[in-house]
C-alpha cells in the first residue's frame, strides 16, 4: 500500500513505539522493591465480575483428574468463584512472583508490564483486557484444578453412594422376591385373580402404549399440518419448482411418512393384539389343563402321591429357575416396555415382550403347580411361538418393504393430471361407429358377455365399451380401482361425445350456409392445418354415384378372361332380368363361360361387404316406437340390401348358364361356403326354396363331389387336405343352412329334390361323397318322419306313390354300388396289393354315415329290397362282426364301434349282430 502512502505512516508509528520502548527494554527492574512501573496507571477496575465471567474454579493444580467421570458441582464452582473474588483485591496491588514471571516487556505480548507502562495507545486496549483475562485465567486455572480435585472426591463419594443404593435396591428386590414367594405360597387360591390382574395390567400397558402412539401420531399430524400450512403460504406455482421442492413431492413425502407411521403403528397394534390373543389362548389352555387335571385327579388317586411329588420337585426347580428369569425380567420389564418401544428395533421389542411374557407365564405356572411335563411342553410351545412370530415378522417386513418399494412413486400425479391424460387417450378411442371400426373386438366382447349371461348391457356408442363390459364381467381380483376408473372414463367419454356432437352440429350449420347443395366432402378438422380444397370431389368413386364420370373412366388392364365375360355382374344382371322376363316366355339363355377365379373372388368380396352392411343395418334396427317413417325407411334400406345380395348370388341365372353354374362356382371357394349361412339368414322362404332347388339340381357340379375321389387316396397330399377342408366347410356351413328347409319340407318337395338329384346327375358319385350321403340320409329320414305322421301336413296318396317311385329308382341305381359306398372299401382298393389288410385308423367312424344311410334305406325298403340289401352287404357285415368277435381290433373302442355300425343296419332289418353265429 505504499502507493497509497499508508504504510509509511504505520511504519513510522511502529518505529516511534519501538524507539520509545528500546529505552525501556534496557532497564530491567522487575521484582525489585523500588520497581516503580506505572502500577498506579494500571487500570484495575471493572474486574469484579471477571471470575464469574471467565469461570475461575478454585485452586489450580498441575495434575488433572482425567479419570473423574462427573463434572464438579456447580456449588463448588460458585463457592470457589466467590473465594477467588475475595482473594483478588489483596493480590492485585502486589505483583506475585508467579505473575512477574509472566511479565514481558515486548509490546506485542499479551501480558501487561505493570510498572513500566505509560499511557498506551488505544490499539492495545484489547490486549490489555486480554491480559487481564490471562491473569485471571491463570488464577482460574488454578482454581479449576482445585475445583476438579474437590469434585473428584465428591464423585467418588457419589459413586459409593450409588453402589450402596444399587446394593440396597438389589437387596430390596431379593426381599421382594422372598416376599413374593411367601405370597405365592400363601395365596394359591387367589392365583387366577392375580393372573387376570396381570393380564389387565398388560392390557392397560398396551392401551397406554396405544394411547401414546395415538398421541404421538396426533402430535405428528399437527406438526405436519403446521408445516403444510407454512408451505402453502410460501410455495411458488407448482410447475416452477424442481421436483424435489414441488409441493406435491413434499406432500408425497409427508404422505409416505404418514403411511410408514401408520404401518408401523398398525404393525405394533397387530402384534399387541396377537399377544393378547396368545395370552388368552394360554389362559384357556391353562384353565383347560387345570380342569383336566382336576377332573383327572379323582380318577388317578392311587397316583396322587406321585403327582404331589412331581409338584414338589417342580417347585424346587422353579424356584431355582425363577431367580434367573426374575433377575432377568425384573429390571427388564418396566424399562423396555415403556421407554424403548419407539426406539428399539421391533424384533428386539417383540423378543423382550415374549421373554417377559414367558417369565410371567412361568410365574403363573409356578403358582398353579402344573406338572413338569406340561411345563416343558409349554416352554417348548412358547419357543415355537417365538420362532413363528419371528418368521411372521420377517414375512411382514418383507411384504412391507415390497409394498414400499412398489409405491415409492405413488401420488406423483394429481387427479386432474390423471384425468387429463385419460381424456386424451379416450378421445382417441371414441368413435361414432364402433362396429365398423373395431368389429372383432366388439363381437368377441358380445360373445363373452353372452356366455357369461348378459352381465353388462350393450354399450355401443363407446368403442372400448366392449372391453369395459368384459372387465366388468370378468372376475377382477385387484380390480377395486377399476370401477372408479371405468366411471371416470365413462364421464370423460360422455363429455367428449357431447363435444363431438356439438361440433358436428356446428359443422352442419356451417356447411349448410356455405356449401349447401355441393357434391363432395369437406374435411373434418380445422382448415387451418393445411391449405386444402374446401370441397373435395371424389373423382374415383363408383360409377353409380357419378354417371357422367363412369364413361370417362379408362378401362385399365382388361384381362383376357374378363374381356370375354364383359362385365360379368352386369351380364348376370342382364341374365337375371332376362330370366325373370322370360319365365313365362320360355328360356332365352345367355351362355357363359364358368366364372373365373378372379370373378368368383371379387363377387365374394362384394358379398362380404353386403353382408356386413346388412348385419350393421340389422343391429341398427329402429324400435317400433321411433316412428313409422323411420321404420319404413329402414325396411326399405334393408330390403334393398337383401335384394342386392340375392342378385350377387346369381341364383336366378338359368340352370344352363354355365357348367358349373355361377352359383355353384361361388360355392367352390371356401369363402363362399362360409358366407352362405350368413346370407341365407336374411332370405325368406321362397328364396330359400329356389336356392335349395338350384343347389340340388346342380349338386354334382360342386367341387367337393367332383374331387371326392381324392379323399379315398391314402397319401396325405396338399390337394387331399384341401378337399378335406372344403368338404368340412360344406358340411358345416352349407348343409347347415339348408337343413331347416328340408326338415320342414313337405313330401312333394322332397320327392322333387330327390328326383332332381337323380335326373341328369351321377347319383352314385354323389352318394360316394360325404355331403351327398348326408343329403340323402336327410331326405330319407324326413320322409320317414312324414310317414310316421308326426307332421302337420297331410300328404296325399299320390305323393306317397310318387315317393315310392323315387325310392325304388334310387335303390335301383345304388344297388350295384352298395359295397363301394363304404370309404373302407374304397380305400382298401388303394392299398398296396401285397398288404390287403392294413388297418386304417378311424375307418370305422368314416363308415358310420354309410351304415346310417343304409339303415334309413332299409327302413323304407320292401322285403325284396331287404333281401337285396342283405345279399350285397353280407360280406361287409360279416367282416365287421368277425373282426369284432375274434379280436382283430386295436382296442375296445374300435370293436364297439364296429358292432354299433353293424347293429345300426341290422336293427333296421329287424336283425341283430348277436344272431350271427360264426
Amino acid at each position: 500500500m505504499s502507493f497509497f502512502g499508508f504504510e509509511e505512516r504505520t511504519l513510522e508509528r511502529g518505529k516511534d513505539r519501538r524507539s520509545e520502548q528500546d529505552e525501556d527494554l534496557a532497564v530491567y527492574t522487575w521484582g525489585e522493591e523500588n520497581y516503580d512501573g506505572l502500577g498506579d496507571a494500571l487500570q484495575e477496575d471493572h474486574d469484579d465480575l471477571n471470575d464469574e465471567t471467565f469461570g475461575a474454579v478454585g485452586e489450580l493444580g498441575k495434575d488433572f483428574d482425567f479419570s473423574n467421570q462427573a463434572l464438579p458441582d456447580r456449588k463448588n464452582i460458585t463457592r470457589s468463584a466467590n473465594a477467588i473474588v475475595e482473594d483478588r483485591p489483596p493480590q492485585s496491588s502486589t505483583p506475585l512472583t508467579l505473575e512477574s514471571i509472566w511479565d514481558d516487556k515486548s509490546p506485542f505480548s499479551l501480558r501487561l508490564n505493570g510498572s513500566n507502562r505509560t499511557q498506551l495507545p488505544r490499539g492495545e486496549s484489547p490486549a490489555i483486557s486480554s491480559q487481564h483475562r490471562q491473569q485471571s485465567g491463570i488464577r482460574t486455572l488454578q482454581e479449576i484444578e482445585a475445583e476438579m480435585r474437590v469434585s473428584a472426591d465428591q464423585s467418588r463419594q457419589e459413586a459409593l453412594l450409588q453402589q450402596r443404593q444399587q446394593q440396597y435396591y438389589l437387596e430390596q428386590q431379593r426381599l421382594q422376591q422372598q416376599q413374593q414367594k411367601q405370597r405365592e405360597e400363601e395365596e394359591l387360591l387367589l392365583r387366577q385373580e392375580e393372573e387376570r390382574e396381570f393380564q389387565r395390567q398388560r392390557l392397560l400397558y398396551q392401551q397406554e402404549q396405544a394411547q401414546q402412539l395415538h398421541l404421538q401420531r396426533f402430535q405428528q399430524q399437527q406438526q405436519l399440518l403446521q408445516q403444510r400450512e407454512h408451505q402453502h403460504r410460501r410455495t411458488p406455482p407448482p410447475r416452477m419448482l424442481p421436483v424435489s421442492q414441488s409441493p406435491r413431492f413434499m406432500e408425497h413425502q409427508q404422505r409416505q411418512i404418514l403411511l410408514l407411521q401408520h404401518q408401523q403403528e398398525q404393525q405394533q397394534l397387530l402384534r399387541l393384539q396377537q399377544l393378547q390373543e396368545q395370552l388368552r389362548v394360554e389362559e384357556l389352555e391353562r384353565q383347560l389343563r387345570s380342569q383336566h387335571i382336576s377332573s383327572v385327579t379323582p380318577d388317578r388317586q392311587p397316583s396322587g402321591p406321585t403327582l404331589a411329588d412331581m409338584e414338589a420337585l417342580q417347585h424346587q426347580q422353579l424356584r431355582q429357575q425363577s431367580q434367573s428369569p426374575a433377575t432377568r425380567s425384573g429390571p427388564h420389564r418396566p424399562a423396555p416396555l415403556e421407554d424403548s418401544l419407539p426406539y428399539l428395533p421391533q424384533s428386539i421389542q417383540l423378543q423382550q415382550r415374549l421373554l417377559s411374557e414367558m417369565a410371567q407365564a412361568e410365574f403363573l405356572r409356578e403358582m398353579q403347580g402344573l406338572s413338569q411335563a406340561d411345563q416343558e411342553a409349554l416352554r417348548v410351545e412358547a419357543m415355537r411361538k417365538i420362532l413363528e412370530a419371528e418368521k411372521m415378522e420377517e414375512k411382514r417386513r418383507r411384504k412391507a418393504a415390497k409394498i414400499a418399494h412398489m409405491s415409492r412413486y405413488n401420488d406423483l400425479m394429481t387427479q386432474s393430471d390423471k384425468d387429463f391424460i385419460t381424456r386424451i387417450q379416450v378421445s382417441q378411442l371414441v368413435s361414432q361407429d364402433p362396429y365398423a371400426d373395431d368389429f372383432y373386438a366388439q363381437v368377441y366382447g358380445a360373445i363373452v358377455r353372452s356366455r357369461m349371461g348378459l352381465s353388462a348391457d350393450d354399450e355401443r356408442v363407446l368403442k372400448f365399451g366392449a372391453s369395459g363390459g368384459v372387465a366388468l364381467g370378468a372376475p377382477t381380483k385387484g380390480g377395486n380401482r377399476r370401477p372408479n376408473a371405468m366411471q371416470r372414463m365413462q364421464q370423460q367419454v360422455e363429455r367428449i361425445v357431447s363435444n363431438a356432437r356439438k361440433r358436428e352440429e356446428e359443422k352442419g350449420l356451417h356447411s349448410l350456409h356455405s356449401l349447401q347443395g355441393a357434391l363432395g366432402k369437406t374435411s373434418g378438422r380445422s382448415y387451418k392445418a393445411a391449405p386444402r380444397q374446401l370441397l373435395q370431389v371424389d373423382s374415383s368413386s363408383a360409377p353409380s354415384s357419378s354417371p357422367t364420370l363412369s364413361h370417362a373412366q379408362p378401362h385399365a388392364h382388361i384381362s383376357k378372361a374378363d374381356s370375354i365375360s364383359k362385365s360379368s355382374s352386369e351380364a348376370a344382371a342382364d341374365a337375371a332380368r332376362i330370366g325373370r322376363e322370360t319365365l313365362d316366355n320360355g328360356e332365352t339363355l345367355v351362355r357363359m363361360e364358368p366364372l373365373t377365379q378372379r370373378e368368383i373372388l371379387v363377387t365374394l368380396e362384394n358379398m362380404y361387404d353386403l353382408v356386413l352392411n346388412v348385419e350393421q343395418l340389422r343391429r341398427d334396427q329402429p324400435h317400433p316406437e321411433d316412428g313409422e317413417e323411420v321404420l319404413e325407411q329402414w325396411s326399405q334400406d334393408f330390403d334393398k340390401l337383401v335384394d342386392q345380395m340375392w342378385i350377387q348370388l346369381k341364383v336366378m341365372l338359368p340352370l344352363a348358364t354355365s357348367t358349373p353354374h355361377p352359383f355353384i362356382s361361388l360355392l367352390s371357394a371356401a369363402k363362399g361356403k362360409k358366407i352362405l349361412p350368413r346370407v341365407t339368414r336374411h332370405f325368406d322362404q321362397q328364396r330359400m326354396n329356389t336356392l335349395l332347388t338350384l343347389l340340388i339340381a346342380c349338386f354334382s357340379q360342386l367341387d367337393i363331389i367332383s374331387h371326392a375321389a381324392l379323399l379315398d387316396t391314402l397319401e396325405d397330399t396338399p390337394e387331399r387336405a384341401d378337399v378335406e377342408r372344403q368338404t368340412q366347410a360344406f358340411l358345416s356351413s352349407v348343409l347347415q343352412s339348408i337343413l331347416p328347409i328340408i326338415v320342414k319340407g313337405n313330401l312333394r318337395l322332397v320327392c322333387g329334390l330327390v328326383g332332381l338329384l337323380m335326373h341328369g346327375q351321377d347319383i352314385v358319385a354323389i352318394a360316394k361323397s360325404r355331403p351327398g350321403l348326408a343329403l340323402l340320409t336327410l331326405f330319407l329320414t324326413r320322409v320317414e318322419v312324414i310317414k310316421e305322421g308326426e307332421v302337420d301336413e297331410n300328404p296325399t296318396p299320390e305323393d306317397f306313390a310318387q315317393w315310392q317311385l323315387m325310392f325304388d329308382h334310387l335303390f335301383q341305381l345304388l344297388t350295384p354300388e352298395f359295397p363301394l359306398l363304404f370309404p373302407s372299401t374304397r380305400m382298401a382298393e388303394h392299398l398296396p396289393r401285397d398288404q390287403p389288410h392294413i388297418n386304417i385308423p378311424g375307418i370305422d367312424s368314416l363308415d358310420q354315415p354309410v351304415w346310417q344311410f343304409l339303415a334309413a334305406l332299409a327302413l323304407q325298403a320292401s322285403s325284396m329290397q331287404h333281401q337285396i340289401l342283405v345279399s350285397s352287404l353280407r360280406e361287409k357285415v360279416l367282416d365287421n362282426v368277425l373282426s369284432a368277435k375274434k379280436g382283430w381290433v386295436v382296442d375296445e373302442e374300435e370293436r364297439s364301434t364296429k358292432l354299433a355300425n353293424v347293429d345300426l343296419f341290422l336293427h333296421a332289418l329287424g336283425l341283430d349282430s348277436s344272431q350271427i353265429t360264426m
Partner: protein
Amino acid sequence: MDGSSSGIQEPFDLIRLSLSERVFVKLRGDREMTGILHAYDGHMNLILSDVEETIMIVNEGEQATVNVAKRKMDMLFVRGDGVILVSPPSRT
C-alpha cells in the same frame, strides 16, 4: 372387369380377394410358403394358417445344387418387409 370389380381400386384389393384362400408367398432369403391367408395390412404383414414353408439352400461349388428344407406351422405371422410377392397357388 372394372364393372364387376368396383371393389378393386388398388393392388391391395387383389390381396383382399385372396382372403381365406390358399396363397403362395415368396419371401426374402430364398423362402417360399403356402398358407391360408387370414389377414394382411399396409406393410404386407400377413397372418397365415396351415402353413408350409420351403427354404432353398444353395450349395455353391462346382455343381451348384439346391437343397430344400420344409417345415409346417399351424399359425404364422409374417413380417411385411420380407414379403416379395403374394399370389394364388399355382393352378394346374
